[in-house]
């Protein structure tokens, strides 16, 4: 199954608890994209990837345009690395109501000058990190490190 020209698959039964969003797993973000395409680490399962998305929707970890962001914690409260460039925050670009969502590891890779938006439209929206802190998805220390682009 694919969306448009991009191969991948959508799990037939998985919907987010709050909004009922569908989710599509793009091959290009799972080891079959180019070197400039963000990649999930192989050990992150589809269930875990969807869990990040579900939590992001449930906790409303959204920027002002509706993009969602999420993290995956381990049993000790440490933020797991989810991307091949050691990313710890995933981004889920906002979709039309009829389309499935998808996501990819996003941050704390520093902003690329070619694709970033200039301040105050920050690469990783500060209000989203703040929201993660407020809903206790992050500790204060993790928040302080991530906002600086450091590993948490």
């Amino acid at each position: 199954m694919s969306v448009g020209e991009e191969p991948g698959y959508e799990h037939p039964d998985w919907r987010t608890q709050r909004s009922g969003f569908r989710y599509f797993f793009y091959d290009k973000h799972h080891g079959r994209g180019g070197e400039n395409v963000s990649q999930w680490r192989p050990e992150i399962t589809d269930e875990e990837e969807f869990q990040i998305f579900d939590d992001a929707d449930r906790l409303e970890l959204a920027d002002e345009t509706g993009n969602l962001y999420g993290v995956l914690s381990d049993d000790n409260g440490q933020i797991r690395v989810i991307g091949t460039l050691q990313q710890q925050v995933a981004k889920f670009p906002v979709q039309r109501a009829t389309d499935p969502w998808h996501g990819y590891p996003f941050y704390p890779v520093s902003a690329d000058r070619h694709v970033r938006q200039p301040p105050p439209n920050r690469h990783m929206p500060r209000e989203v990190l703040r929201r993660m802190l407020d809903v206790e998805a992050l500790t204060r220390r993790q928040y302080k490190r991530l906002r600086k682009g450091q590993n948490a």
Binding site: E35, Q78, V81, T84, L85, Q86, P108, V109, S110, A111, D112, R113, H114, R116, P118, P119, P120, R122, H123, M124, R126, T139, R140, R141, Q142, K144, R145, R147, K148, G149, Q150, N151, A152
Partner: protein, 372 residues
């Protein structure tokens, strides 16, 4: 640099969230970067605290020229003439910025390479070096002593292990090399300032593994595992003869680590105390070869290393830990030149891996009684 300054025990600013701390060339004291992008100078010599906007995002690194400062953030690298307004040098994010000289600066750009900034008269020469064909993530940089007129800079790579950057005195003719450390996510690197080993460095991985080499140019590092370290590795600093490790769980002081390293004692079993300060700090900085600047939730705590160790010596809360050293399997240096080319590195002189276990007393310190 020998410290003659006396820092306050703590620095708090109700309306500012400090995100960086370090030495200030302008004042001879310390200064701060903030979440709102400000450069903050504490009160000094009777002067009131001062603040300037130096970046439009959270400051994560700062370095000083004589009459200006350079600041990095996740979205841009900027400079600020003293008393002037900020200017953007690079419209993308960096993880830090370091000074090689008062006019030459480098900033690690993560997967986008290394940013070189040269102040030349009244202009800036800006360049970016990348490793062609390699997926790299350059996270931290640490200048070493210049060798034969060339600058040497060690780096922590989150995907390609140790990084070695060389350039001439003007920042040109540079070379970027990697010593691949498969499966290790290096999050910091520091110069060991060992008189007999001018190119000695240590690096820290996020899993708390330490790597040490007496010469980053030629010698394969040995791997050290300190069993009592806990949490996610954040930061590695050298302070005097001691090695400082910050993790998500605590601050650790590996007492006289550098001295033992210089004597070759890390190659054989020996005792080495590790002091633990169980704090939740998001970063640690060093200042004037004497102070640790601990970034806590709501303040910067200035801790004098001598007083910390004196306090530790009086502590009764000791328990044993183990240093496990050795068993490193790394490839020799590969040389990946920048587009402008440069000399390549010679083949590695491989130092035999050491396997040893060091019994080390660990003392736990209490922050409240350790603040100087």
């Amino acid at each position: 640099m020998t410290a003659t300054i006396k820092l306050q025990p703590s620095y708090r600013y109700p309306n500012e969230d400090i995100s960086w701390a370090g030495e200030c060339t302008w004042t001879g004291g310390i200064c701060f970067g903030t979440d709102d992008g400000n450069l903050l100078l504490p009160a000094y010599d009777g002067a009131k605290p001062q603040s300037w906007l130096i970046n439009r995002d959270t400051v994560n690194g700062m370095a000083f020229g004589t009459q200006f400062a350079v600041a990095s953030s996740p979205t841009e690298v900027t400079w600020l003439p003293r008393g002037g307004e900020l200017h953007v040098l690079y419209a993308g994010g960096a993880h830090d910025v370091v000074a090689l000289t008062p006019t030459l600066f480098l900033a690690p750009l993560g997967p986008h390479g290394i940013l070189s900034l040269m102040r030349d008269s009244d202009r800036w020469r800006v360049g970016i070096g990348t490793a062609k064909g390699e997926q790299t993530f350059i996270y931290r940089l640490c200048p070493l002593h210049p060798q034969t007129g060339r600058h040497l800079v060690a780096g922590a790579g989150r995907t390609k292990g140790l990084v070695l950057y060389e350039c001439d005195s003007l920042g040109g003719d540079f070379t970027l090399s990697f010593r691949d450390l498969p499966d290790y996510d290096l999050v910091d690197v520091c110069h060991l300032h060992s008189p007999n080993h001018p190119c000695a460095v240590a690096a820290l991985a996020s899993d708390r593994t330490l790597f040490v080499t007496p010469d980053i140019r030629k010698v394969v590092p040995i791997q050290l595992t300190v069993s009592d370290l806990e949490g996610t590795g954040y930061t590695l600093k050298a302070l005097g003869s001691h090695l400082i490790v910050l993790t998500s769980r605590a601050l650790y002081i590996l007492e006289n680590f550098i001295e033992k390293f210089a004597k070759g004692e890390l190659q054989a079993p020996s005792k080495s105390p590790v002091y633990t300060l169980p704090v939740e700090a998001s970063e640690v900085y060093v200042a004037y070869d004497e102070y640790l600047l601990l970034e806590a939730d709501d303040a910067i705590h200035a801790l004098r290393i001598k007083e910390l160790l004196d306090s530790a010596a009086q502590s009764n809360s000791e328990r044993p830990t183990v240093f496990k050293a050795g068993q490193f399997a790394g490839e020799g240096y590969g040389s990946t030149p920048f587009a402008t080319g440069g000399s390549t590195l010679s083949e590695s002189e491989v130092m035999p891996a050491a396997v040893n276990a060091l019994e080390s007393p660990v003392r736990h310190l209490d922050l409240a009684t350790s603040l100087c």
